[in-house]
């Protein structure tokens, strides 16, 4: 839904930095306090919960503070298939999404650039899904797709790709919209084939959009549990780590297990994202 964040219409104006530190502090204090209380503290709470041990009473949802690091080993041992599956799904869906989104972003950002009306219509069509409940849309696929496909790896990945295409198209569009078309012309003037021009000029210049688009979809995909849940597009063999965290937290009230898996998920994502960003040479994007 973050499309306004990617709009490139406005250019940054050189602004002289000011020094009155107390004004900055006054402006920042309430918001930062809020984020410390409702974003940072919950992370710490998650880490503490992940080390808890069952209470002596043994009641459901009863845990006491402990330093039980073995929770991590137990979580990995029990749920590595779901963890692995989440990342395989997310990776596959990201690659398929990229193959679909890039041409669409290219169409809107380059091909129809000089027809503002057409560009406006296409952009509205891309963001239109945001205006209607994503749960209803995902449920709609359940009746559109043939019923023997529902509950398979295919249907879950299909749903993930569908849900996150706009999140890929918009940043890629922003990058391609900013691309100077004269560079493409210069490439073909120098006898480069269309494929070479794409590989050497267009793609490298649109990399910032590709990186943020793929990250913006890969991260939420790997934690998603709507597509893979049985009421939607999933089945018994498609459970993702998000489903496991949900059922441990909300149904069986195994809070330490849910917390441990959340931390593991987050750590794996951080490692993947850091590697990807370094490999793609986009450190300055973050």
């Amino acid at each position: 839904m973050a499309f306004t964040a990617f709009s490139t219409g406005a250019k940054a104006v050189e602004q002289a930095p000011r020094k009155r530190g107390w004004v900055a502090l006054l402006l920042l204090a309430p918001g930062i306090a809020y984020m410390l209380l409702f974003f940072v503290a919950p992370f710490i709470q998650l880490a503490i919960t992940s080390l808890q041990a069952p209470a002596e009473s043994g009641g459901i949802g009863q845990y006491v503070a402990a330093m039980q690091f073995s929770n991590y080993w137990a979580a990995l041992q029990e749920y590595w298939p779901q963890l692995l599956r989440s990342f395989v799904y997310a990776l596959t869906a990201t690659i398929i999404g990229l193959l679909i989104s890039y041409p669409l972003a290219y169409l809107i950002g380059v091909k129809v650039r000089h027809r503002p009306m057409m560009q406006g219509i296409l952009l509205i069509l891309v963001v239109a899904p945001f205006f209607i409940s994503f749960l209803l849309r995902t449920l709609a696929w359940k009746s559109i797709l043939p019923s023997d496909l529902i509950g398979t790896h295919f249907s879950v990945i299909f749903g993930l790709v569908y849900n996150f295409i706009p999140f890929m198209v918009l940043p890629m569009f922003a990058s391609l919209q900013a691309l100077d078309l004269r560079l493409i012309e210069a490439g073909s003037d120098l006898y480069a084939s269309p494929v070479t021009v794409f590989r050497k000029v267009t793609l490298p210049l649109s990399m910032p959009g590709v990186v943020s688009g793929t990250l913006l979809s890969f991260i939420p995909m790997s934690g998603d549990y709507v597509n893979a849940s049985r009421e939607f597009l999933g089945g018994t063999g498609t459970t993702m780590i998000g489903n496991v965290i949900e059922s441990n937290f909300l149904q069986t009230q195994n809070y330490p297990m849910a917390a441990t898996l959340s931390i593991i998920l987050m750590v794996i994502i951080l490692v993947i994202v850091a590697t990807y960003v370094r490999k793609s040479g986009a450190e300055d994007l973050l």
Partner: protein, 266 residues
């Protein structure tokens, strides 16, 4: 020559397929709002206007819808105020820990919702706070602040400080400069950020599910009733939101295009 034309057709063809992929489920949701479905809105059973005449006919659906609007409005108001203040500070002032603050605001957007939801729920559990609409508002405000900061920051960065300087040269007090120059110039960006924030909150399910307790929002209503069949009235309400938002965006686009045309003529 043949290859060349194939290459030319590739982008529009893939683009068209992608758009059909994106829009097909929307058409399905709208069409099935007219389904004479009774309880189970999965198979087409014939056209009816009943659902549209009585959108609150299904139990709970309008309560859930109302809750979503309430949560969206309150979370948006708080997040927009907090986020705008942070955005101004980040662009206009140099201070120690500035990059840490940026990171703190970026990270929620790069954290899977299931982790944010579980963390907050664990926090409320420890603090002994009972989950309900209040905790949903607190949770939504948190992730909306990040998006507001990103959206408003871009707007602040594009402001021309010369206009504010002119105000100061004309003896306006700092407060006058802010209320009469800075804020009005930021307004379009702030409205955009608020709309984004409301849309994010209104459609959020994962974080809500962890923090709502027994309270229901519109997405949670759909998730819970998915098992036994979502009533067609939910399709009606979703379609109304869709058409309304679409009209709003089209109007904004038309105004923008006209403005650009006028500017390019001048």
């Amino acid at each position: 020559m043949k290859n060349f034309s194939l290459g030319k057709a590739f982008v529009p063809v893939v683009g068209a397929i992608a758009l059909i992929y994106l829009l097909l489920p929307i058409a399905h949701v709208i069409v099935f709002s007219f389904n004479d479905a009774g309880r189970n809105n999965i198979i087409w059973r014939g056209f009816t206007l009943d659902n549209w005449q009585n959108p609150c006919g299904a139990p709970q659906v309008c309560t859930a819808f109302g809750n979503s609007i309430l949560v969206g409005v309150v979370a948006t108001v708080i997040a927009t105020v907090l986020g705008t203040m942070i955005a101004i500070a980040l662009v206009r002032y140099r201070f120690r820990g500035r990059s840490t603050v940026s990171l703190l605001l970026f990270t929620p957007m790069a954290t899977p919702e299931v982790v944010l939801g579980a963390g907050l729920a664990a926090q409320f559990l420890l603090a002994g706070v009972e989950k309900g609409i209040g905790t949903v508002i607190l949770a939504h405000t948190m992730f909306c602040v990040s998006y507001v900061v990103v959206a408003v920051k871009a707007r602040v960065a594009s402001l021309n400080p010369a206009i504010e300087e002119a105000g100061r040269d004309l003896y306006a007090s700092p407060a006058q400069v802010f209320w009469r120059i800075t804020l009005p110039m930021l307004t379009p960006g702030i409205i955009g950020a608020a709309l984004l924030s409301f849309a994010l909150s209104f459609d959020d399910f994962i974080i809500t599910n962890f923090n709502a307790g027994t309270a229901t929002t519109f997405p949670k209503f759909i998730y819970v009733s998915a098992l036994k069949g979502v009533p067609a009235q939910a399709n009606v309400l979703a379609s109304i939101v869709f058409v309304g938002a679409l009209l709003l965006v089209i109007i904004v686009q038309v105004i923008n295009i006209n403005k650009q045309k006028r500017l390019s003529r001048a």
